[in-house]
């Protein structure tokens, strides 16, 4: 479980996050949703320590990450995996080398054990026969899957995904969402996902945190989100025609 308490973050004079608190549960896909520019990426990067927060604290299973020394943080980082918006694969390394990279850096394994682990991870995300290709030689969807394989190479306890299906067609996006959800349940990870995609929300929104203009908007689950009377959240949710229709159908049914 990851707990954040009253996180605030500014860049120069610009306040991007103010006073955000939440709990992200283990074995579940926890979603941070909001419009573009609402501060999702900054929040995620603040949680993992790529940005230093101005105020507030982050706890990883009761361990206070915010006040840790760099050395302790480095150690905890080996329990984290992260999927970046563009995949962020190392483009000078092949698919296989990318997935093996964390193992080369941190695992005391023989070449054979590493090879096995790499194959397992690539298999887990359904990548075949691409071991020796470079990131520029595979599609965006495959890059995302390889990035997931790399993120889970060291069997992390915490997985972070920034807009995992941005730039993908709806079908591939769904595959990626389901994959992340499956892996989360399988490995019993605490997973936090940034998204502005309502399809993802309805598919895998075990727990949802809506932020708007850097402030807490709403918390709930995918079952509750269509029934909310939160004004801003409604604007966000029903910007999508499909969900307007679902709501309208329900209202008609009630009549």
């Amino acid at each position: 479980m990851i707990v954040i308490e009253s996180i605030s973050k500014s860049f120069d004079d610009k306040k991007v996050l103010s006073n955000i608190s939440a709990q992200f549960l283990k074995g579940q896909t926890n979603l941070i949703i909001g419009r573009s520019g609402s501060g999702k990426t900054v929040l995620l990067k603040s949680i993992v320590g790529l940005h230093e927060v101005d105020e507030g604290q982050v706890f990883y299973d009761d361990r206070d990450f915010t006040s840790m020394k760099p050395k302790e943080r480095k150690k905890l980082r080996q329990e984290m995996g992260m999927l970046f918006q563009g995949g962020a694969l190392f483009d000078s390394l092949t698919v296989e080398e990318n997935v093996r990279f964390p193992l080369d850096m941190f695992a005391d394994q023989t070449t054979e054990e590493k090879k096995k682990r790499v194959d397992f991870c690539l298999d887990r995300v359904n990548i075949e026969k691409a071991n020796h290709l470079f990131p520029s030689e595979i599609s965006g969807g495959m890059q995302k899957r390889v990035a997931i394989a790399r993120a889970i190479a060291l069997s992390p306890k915490y997985l972070f995904c920034d807009e995992p299906n941005s730039g993908l067609d709806p079908e591939t996006a769904l595959v990626i969402d389901e994959l992340i959800h499956e892996i989360t349940v399988d490995l019993n990870m605490t997973t936090i996902i940034n998204t502005h995609d309502m399809n993802s929300v309805m598919e895998i929104g075990d727990k949802i945190l809506f932020i708007s203009g850097g402030e807490m908007g709403w918390e709930g689950t995918k079952h509750e989100i269509l029934k909310t009377d939160n004004q801003k959240l409604n604007e966000f949710v029903f910007a999508n025609k499909q969900y307007r229709q679902i709501r309208d159908a329900r209202i008609e049914n009630k009549d």
Binding site: L50, K74, R77, G81, M82, F84, Q85, A88, F106
Partner: protein, 246 residues
């Protein structure tokens, strides 16, 4: 103040670069890759430029020595000392700042804007050390060799061009390049190349590491990196010449 801000951040970065690496084996492998991509791939351009410049310097010295009382060995000597003292060290440093420096900034800068550096950090790898240290070591290691190569091919350039256009005879030229040879000039320039190598790797790495934005900013950072490296090379040339010759 911009200057103090950058200087402070540059040294902070260097401090991270020289902190202990995670896995030595990974670093050594990376070091060899860098020596190949930054060093060995620069040999061609060094050879070509040095051949031409050696020939051109030889002609310049020959055509400016119109007084028949000046001995013709001065032509070889002039080429040799120009190469050793300034061309193969300083000018070559400026050229390499353009070639190697812009490469380093754009590579590291692209990694920054595509979140590859964040990606390293989240894994618990020290990105500054992992990305920059092998580059600095590789360039500092390779620069003295490029210097020697440049002097050698500069002398050959003179030997080809001088006699070919009738500016100097081959025996006179060869006699000249051996005349009044001062070994200290070579030591002096070798010391300079170590400093220049460090600048050519570390300054562009700094500009790449802190890029914000996208492709446009990476391009702008490369330009800034090359300009600043060039200025620093000249400043250091001035300082080192003053220190090492007095």
């Amino acid at each position: 103040m911009n200057f103090f801000y950058h200087t402070g951040r540059y040294f902070t970065l260097l401090y991270q670069v020289f902190s202990r690496p995670e896995k030595h084996r990974v670093y050594v492998r990376k070091l060899f890759r860098e020596i190949e991509s930054l060093g060995l791939n620069s040999i061609g351009i060094v050879v070509i430029i040095s051949l031409f410049m050696g020939g051109i310097i030889t002609l310049q010295v020959a055509y400016n020595l119109t007084n028949p009382l000046f001995p013709s060995y001065l032509i070889g000597l002039g080429n040799r000392d120009t190469l050793i003292l300034e061309f193969s060290s300083t000018i070559m440093g400026l050229i390499m700042a353009g070639k190697i420096g812009s490469n380093i900034t754009s590579e590291i800068g692209s990694m920054r804007v595509t979140e590859q550096i964040d990606s390293l950090q989240i894994m618990g790898v020290n990105p500054a050390s992992y990305l920059i240290l092998p580059k600095i070591v590789a360039v500092v290691f390779i620069f003295p060799f490029l210097f020697i190569l440049s002097v050698f091919f500069g002398l050959i350039g003179g030997l080809i061009v001088g006699p070919a256009v009738g500016a100097v005879t081959a025996p006179d030229y060869i006699n000249g390049i051996q005349y009044l040879f001062t070994p200290y000039y070579v030591t002096f320039s070798l010391i300079k190349t170590l400093f220049f190598g460090f600048l050519v790797a570390s300054v562009p790495a700094y500009f790449g590491y802190y890029v914000k934005g996208g492709a446009f900013e990476v391009g702008a950072a490369s330009t800034k990196a090359v300009v600043n490296t060039n200025i620093l090379i000249l400043v250091f040339d001035l300082i080192l010449t003053q220190i090492l010759f007095t």
